[in-house]
Symmetry: C2
Subunit: 402 residues, 2 copies
């Protein structure tokens, strides 16, 4: 069996943890399995490197930032190889050039195009544990690229896909995917199995356990993903195409406080204006989430939408710059909002789900300002201060603790 | 004009120094020159990385050590590119994979085989300052290698040779090559020009300003080398094939305290024994320097030789292990010795040079225990405690201060 195991920066932050990871991987190796380890940079290395860069040049080029940051994972993988050697297990570390992990050219936010499997296969055939740098790739100019947030998860899934691994284990500081954030909802339950689609909806709704790009890729290539704790040997959560019967109506609840509402007021009520507004944002890589449009009155209307808080400044600037062309009279915004989402394939055939959710929120005196739905997700926008209360109320309302 | 400029770790140890180097290189660039910068790892980065490795595995594999250490120069070059950008000068950093600096496979002590010039030429044609990682290469297995001590000097010379640069400037913390170590001999004089051969003899005699491998390569490819200070804009010392007329008899004096004498006593006085002794050492990569052999008496003789102090333990172990085969009765050694060498092409045609040297030492009551000569060098072995005194005496004896 071929297993890809990914460990984040905290799991390799110091000598003791590096050896923990090494011993854990050796267990699998000694069962006769082939093992590939994907690592992030140690602890806060990436932040420290970014700080160094900012000190030299606050507007450092993304190309040079990637050149700088990619050293972080190279340090992790070489130290891990040394740790495995000292435990008498053959191992070799490889970076993006050595594997040849080809990505698109975009520095800081590249995507995998193709991963050569020759070198890794060769090393596995020699019964070595292969340790690969996460988060990084090489573009067609032979320049380093990085993959953006959650990049190492994506590296692990991409390697698993390229080498037809039997499973891809993502080790984190939680025991798996929960029905809600266990720090907020005390009786949240670990989910044993979840479909790719549900996981994707949860990931984009604020559950931080897996990056959605890695889930997308796992779905595309049918890679069986396992999310589990690096602290213990519990089974974790399996993410795959089809899960066991006895489906729950709702798989989980998630809150996302990193959201802001923007309202453009008094725009002309004629075709094409809304398109222009959202096209302006899309061209600037700003993802718009929930959209609410008032009924036209007196020839004008109001449009509200949510963006990630990180994109708020850019959004407000773009609206201001294009105020005239977009016929906007006034711009308002609110950062003190949160999204609460319920996700579950069960809701497809169950019309009462939205009502149950709204009832739970109503009983807790929580006001809903916007609503958005997909086939397997319902999201509402509420006051940020109510987010934790809402999470508990909805989790209880659907009886997810059982 | 194409110039290669090499700066060591102390020259890029912090933000201020990085900007100093950047501004210095921009001056050359703005004269219309093409500029390649070769950098070592910042400050004590390499030592810090080695410390990390030792903590994980005291016997870390050289392959993984190279994987770890090569991150140091990559950090330097990316930060330098950011500094140049912030001064509005186009620049790009490249590592050994991106340049394709091919070396022999030996990790930790590789030698250059071939350097591809395409990528660098391409960037220079776009009027970019190109910043290249020193000290590192890539071997035929696509693994990182490092070049050993003084490696970045060699990288600079190799790049200058591959790209037919007009000059290769090695920036150090001294103003150039001196007639003797200016910290010991107060009236030592900076040498304006020196031949490759003289520089080589000085480098192997203890003058630490240039690594001899880089001088060898400069001689082989006719690269004009300049050694100059990174602190000021003084002209420095030019190393080349033929220097101006008016040759001095002696170019410089050097002391090397990193030396130890080993004596093997009572070996059989028959052909082949000396060969066996030195062959044993050569096979273990131990360089033997001065050799003194006593006249045979009673069928046995004594052989003394010097090795670098770093090699002393290995040397003693090898002699002990092969005591019987080498017919050795007794092994003695002394670490408290130093070599004093005078170097100069002028001595070829001047038989009185050795006499002048011995006289200077004799007048200072310094005893000579061994002597070795090459065409342009005379080396004597003395007590280590006399080394500084000897340096001053010989320097004065030849009137090198003028």
């Amino acid at each position: 069996m071929l297993v890809v195991k990914k460990f984040g920066g905290t799991s390799v932050a110091n000598k003791e943890r590096i050896f923990n990871v090494a011993r854990r991987c050796i267990e699998d190796y000694q069962k006769g399995n082939d093992v590939i380890i994907v690592l992030s940079a140690m602890g806060d290395t990436t932040d420290a490197l970014l700080e160094k860069a900012r000190d030299i040049n606050p507007n450092a080029s993304k190309r040079e930032l990637d050149m700088l940051l990619t050293t972080g994972e190279q340090v992790s993988v070489s130290l891990m190889a040394m740790a495995l050697h000292s435990l008498n297990v053959p191992a070799i570390s490889l970076n993006a050039f050595q594997v040849q992990m080809h990505t698109t050219s975009r520095n800081g936010n590249a995507r995998f195009k193709r991963i050569d499997s020759d070198r890794i296969r060769h090393e596995l055939e020699n019964r070595k544990i292969v340790i690969v740098t996460g988060f990084q790739g090489v573009n067609k100019y032979d320049d380093y690229t990085t993959l953006g947030r959650g990049g190492s998860d994506t590296t692990a899934v991409a390697l698993a896909a390229a080498l037809h691994a039997d499973r891809c284990e993502i080790f984190t500081d939680v025991e798996g995917v929960f029905t809600a954030d266990p720090r907020v909802v005390k009786n949240a339950r670990k989910i044993e199995e979840i479909t790719y689609d549900e996981m994707l909806e949860l990931a984009t709704s604020g559950a931080r356990v897996l990056h959605n790009r890695s889930v997308e890729m796992a779905k595309k290539y049918g890679v069986e993903l396992v999310v589990r704790s690096s602290m213990n040997t519990e089974e974790g959560t399996v993410v795959k195409e089809v899960v066991k019967v006895e489906k729950m109506l709702i798989t989980g609840v998630a809150a996302d406080k990193n959201t802001a509402r923007v309202s453009v007021i008094g725009v002309e009520d004629r075709p094409g204006i809304a398109f222009k507004i959202f096209n302006t944002l899309a061209k600037n890589n700003i993802n718009v989430d929930i959209i609410l449009q008032s009924v036209g009155r007196g020839g004008t209307k109001d449009i509200s939408f949510t963006v990630s808080e990180d994109d708020l400044d850019d959004t407000l600037r773009l609206m201001e710059e294009n105020k005239e062309a977009l016929t906007i009279k006034e711009i308002a915004h609110n950062e003190n909002v949160a999204k609460i989402s319920i996700v579950g394939a069960g809701m497809l055939s169950n019309p009462g789900v939205a009502a149950t959710m709204f009832e739970a929120l109503c009983n807790s005196n929580i006001n809903i300002s916007m609503i958005s739905t997909s086939e397997i997700r319902i999201t509402v926008l509420i006051d940020e201060k109510d987010a934790d209360k809402a999470l508990v109320a909805v989790h209880d309302g659907f009886g997810l603790e059982d």
